[in-house]
């Protein structure tokens, strides 16, 4: 374990340093994604005002506000893409440079993603989160979040991160066969927006669809931690949800390992 930390920690630190080196692009990214949070905030506001029911999909208007901004906080932590690293490595042939070293390619990618995650968490997310919490208690009149909820939320988010990264690794493997996955990455993002609950809470879908989602890893990526944060999952339900997340981590880890084994057999390193 210590050896692992020693080998892969530098990758995490490097990702952090790189983020700092390209601050400008990063602030732009924050701005754009916050902007879309505000759009969906106003959209939901309009929907709730025009509806004669107080709760939609099990959420009150106030909870929906929290939901919308927690989507922002959660996805900026969780969705630290590695398929773009993979495609870059494939196209430029730099994947070879990872393969000539005695390291695990996937672990090095996850370590880098963790660096990005830490940076995003520290720079915008914590501040927005605290701001949201203050707004929630003072303006929306909801109860403050409990320490247990925060802890469970963080635990769940870390699992979400692992699920997302491991899934994205499997997805990134496509790059080895098409050598061009930019378009597919856009499609992935759009699809995940729906399936993870980023755009619409999963509870809004018809129950049949929801049952299908139960068998997919996506709702575990964003929806689950937010539900925990909102106090919708408590006690045994929360335990079960965390267990389900852990199961997805294991499944995707094994699947990614198998895919990687097959890919390296057929791997074509470009250039030279």
């Amino acid at each position: 374990m210590r050896k692992y930390v020693k080998i892969y920690l530098p990758f995490t630190l490097n990702a952090l340093k790189r983020q700092m080196a390209y601050k400008g692009a990063f602030y732009l990214f924050i701005l754009v994604s916050l902007f879309s949070s505000f759009i969906s905030y106003y959209l939901w506001k309009a929907i709730y005002t025009s509806s004669d029911q107080a709760t939609l999909g099990g959420l009150t208007q106030e909870e929906m506000v929290v939901y919308v901004f927690m989507v922002y906080v959660t996805s900026s932590i969780v969705m630290s893409s590695i398929s773009n690293y993979v495609s870059e490595d494939v196209v430029k042939g730099t994947v070879a440079m990872n393969l000539i070293k005695p390291i695990d390619y996937r672990m090095s990618l996850i370590a880098m993603a963790a660096g990005n995650m830490i940076y995003r968490f520290l720079v915008p997310s914590v501040a927005i989160w605290i701001g949201l919490e203050i707004y929630k208690v003072t303006a929306l009149g909801l109860r403050p979040v409990t320490a247990v909820e925060v802890l469970l939320y963080l635990l769940s988010s870390i699992m979400s991160f692992l699920i997302y990264v491991l899934f994205d690794f499997c997805f990134g493997m496509v790059a080895f066969f098409t050598t061009y996955i930019f378009g597919m990455m856009l499609a992935e993002e759009a699809l995940l927006g729906f399936l993870t609950g980023q755009l619409i809470p999963i509870s809004f879908f018809p129950s049949a669809v929801q049952r299908v989602f139960d068998f997919l890893p996506f709702s575990s990526m964003v929806y689950t931690p937010i539900m925990i944060y909102l106090g919708k999952y408590t006690g045994r339900t929360a335990g079960f949800m965390l267990f389900r997340q852990a199961a997805w981590v294991v499944i995707l880890y094994v699947a990614g390992g198998l895919i990687w084994k097959r890919v390296t057999k057929r791997l074509v390193v470009l250039g030279g």
Binding site: I7, N14, G93, T264
Partner: protein, 338 residues
Amino acid sequence: MIEVKHISKDFVTPKKYPGLKGAVKGLFSNEKIVKTAVDDISFEIQKGEIVGYIGSNGAGKSTTIKMMTGILSPTRGECLVDGIDPNKRRKENAQNIGVVFGQRTQLWWDLPLSESFTVLKEIYNVSDSTYAERMEFLNRVLEMQDFFDRPVRTLSLGQRMRADLGAALLHNPKVLYLDEPTIGLDLIVKDNIREAIKEINERYQTTVVLTTHDIGDIEELCNRIIVIDEGKKIYDGSLAALKETYGTKRRVSMEIRQPEKVAKLHLASLLNVREEECSVNYEKESNTLSVTFDKHKIQVPQLLTAVMSVMDIKDVQIQETELSQIVKEIYSHGIMEG
């Protein structure tokens, strides 16, 4: 140290048709083109050898190197590096080898060079004391201290290449693969790099496999060369033997006074050899007659006497075949098939 046994690599690419119509056709057709980049190559390399792996563009050099380093799996055959199959036990093999691909870098582009070395130290599990000792040695032979704290992306090509070589050597690998390590370098940096490779080889008995298009690299470094062409091995042996076998051609160029007499010159019969054993070529503009022949068959004075019996000569130049000449001929399929 390295055993390559009947290794082959096929690249399969979908067939492409020209034009827009072709692109549409390509979508529906399933035709594949198989390109055998490396075709049944075998060789063995002993510990401490420096082997030049040469061949023309697209001959399959890089492909072979990639298979030996474990980043490309062979279609057929196998290879063992220090008893390890790099394809099955990639990570273990990686601990034993150092690789420099001249065209790209293994350093972290955005980070200062020093950080790349720190990361590599952890990856290869190099102890602090060994690290200090290695760095001292590498800094001496590669002179990296001037740019050690600069981000890699700001280094010049020559600096980056030295840094890459240093990075490949930090963990004292048993085998060093160099794919065009001197590409695009000036003469002085080239010299430095060659010296460094030599010194490392002598000091640590590091086995070196090197591909290059620079004949100087080969003459300075390699005691053995392997030549491949279109994926097939066509020569494997010492440099001296190659020169001995194929470098026996000599060429004499003479500036002559009476061009009209060239037609009357029947050199082969004058010298008592067959036509193909001395090829004559006359160039009108420079008024030069050049004769290419085997130096074991014909002596220069003999040739000159024969020519002077027909016409007068103003000036004479004698050229030995150089290695570059030999290599050029091998590449253009001149020597091996004849």
